[in-house]
């Protein structure tokens, strides 16, 4: 009898674990979730994490890459964002989530070349094991996750409302969100949708 209840307990725990594993697939972060830190290799060859950034008031985590036309169109805007907001305590941390074996243009060497050519100024990291992007729930490039100083996710989505022409942008979603959290307010909107290139995996 004792053994039987033990078996029942163990099997129900196993069933529960299996069930939760299947019922809640890793859909990534929602607004209000605390983001986990990471340690990823940057174009300088060193490992980088969020916590190494001293006195940050927040973090602009952007999943982006070399090859995607949308990422290319936003490249200059990402550089400008870092220039403007890192001084105010909100640095850009760019992560390339793509498998370079699928997209050679997104290789670590190509990342180094591109960041040098364009003088990025921010950390451009590679998600070599492709574990960070699913944890965040990034599905495409570019895909923005704005975290506050406690690494709580405050905004997810697009940089602005016009990928093709920065001159025709009407709503700078990300900048509005940064300014909101800087004032201790809730961003409005907290999430936006945007086109992008799907993240490349094998």
């Amino acid at each position: 009898m004792k053994n039987y209840s033990k078996f029942l307990l163990v099997s129900s725990i196993a069933a529960f674990i299996a069930l939760t594993a299947f019922v809640s697939p890793p859909n990534g972060y929602k607004i209000g979730d605390k983001a986990a830190d990471f340690s990823l290799k940057g174009v300088d060859g060193k490992m980088h994490s969020l916590s190494e950034i001293k006195n940050a008031k927040g973090y602009i985590v952007i999943f982006t890459c070399n090859h995607c036309p949308y990422a290319k169109m936003y490249e200059d805007r990402i550089i400008a964002l870092h220039k403007k907001y890192s001084k105010l305590g909100y640095p850009v941390v760019a992560i390339n989530p793509n498998d370079p074996e699928v997209v050679p243009e997104d290789s670590f060497e190509e990342m180094k070349t591109r960041s040098k050519e364009k003088n990025f100024g921010f950390n451009y990291l590679i998600d070599e094991k492709q574990t960070v992007f699913p944890q965040y729930g990034a599905t495409k490039t570019p895909h923005v996750f704005l975290l506050d100083k406690n690494k709580v996710v405050r905004y997810i989505g697009a940089i602005d409302d016009n990928a093709q022409s920065s001159a025709e942008v009407k709503k700078k979603y990300l900048e509005l969100a940064i300014e909101a959290i800087d004032k201790g307010k809730k961003p409005n909107p907290e999430t936006t949708k945007a086109l992008g290139c799907s993240i490349k995996t094998k």
Binding site: A158, D161, K193, L195
Partner: protein, 177 residues
């Protein structure tokens, strides 16, 4: 002196042949066909797209959102042509909505639709504010293409991401016929 004359003549001949080249092309009937390219219908606001294409009575509309720059999109396009053959006698229509960039369509979309077969209309959607219209595709769609939507008598369902093969696309259509 002789040399200069020779160079001038060569130069002159070269410029004449250069100037002649475009004329020749224009007079050539074969080239006329090339200039007569299929041009996609350009739609600048999602609402217009909806009004113009999405309300077909008793017809299943298969709407594929794609772009020439999107590798998985281009990979799955043949599945649509493949499957379209099966439904040629039924009330099923295909619509391909390209999200290519309006300012580069002469280099991207136009040559692509010339070189590749499409069993349906090709429309360029140039509405940049995706956040505004994404909800019309599916509440769970976050902007990654490809995405395929089925519309029948204003009822919609969507398949997020690409299809593995023609069979997968076919069963998606079957389940919504």
């Amino acid at each position: 002196m002789k040399l200069i004359t020779f160079i001038s003549v060569v130069f002159l001949l070269f410029t004449i042949s250069c100037n002649n080249a475009p004329d020749k092309k224009e007079n050539n009937p074969a080239n006329d066909q090339i200039t007569n390219i299929k041009t996609p219908d350009v739609i600048t606001a999602f609402d217009q797209l909806d009004e113009k294409y999405f309300h077909l009575k008793d017809t299943l509309l298969v709407v594929n959102f794609w772009a020439t720059w999107c590798k998985p999109c281009v990979q799955e396009l043949p599945y649509f042509n493949d499957v379209a053959k099966k439904y040629s006698s039924q009330k099923v229509k295909f619509l391909f909505i390209s999200l290519d960039f309006l300012n580069t369509i002469d280099k991207s979309l136009k040559p692509f639709i010339q070189q590749n077969p499409f069993n349906g209309d090709v429309v360029l959607l140039a509405d940049q504010d995706v956040n505004n219209w994404a909800i019309n595709i599916d509440k769970n769609w976050d902007g990654a293409i490809p995405v395929t939507m089925l519309i029948k008598n204003d009822k919609k369902s969507a398949h997020l991401g690409s299809f593995k093969n023609s069979d997968e696309l076919n069963s998606f259509i079957q389940s919504n016929l």
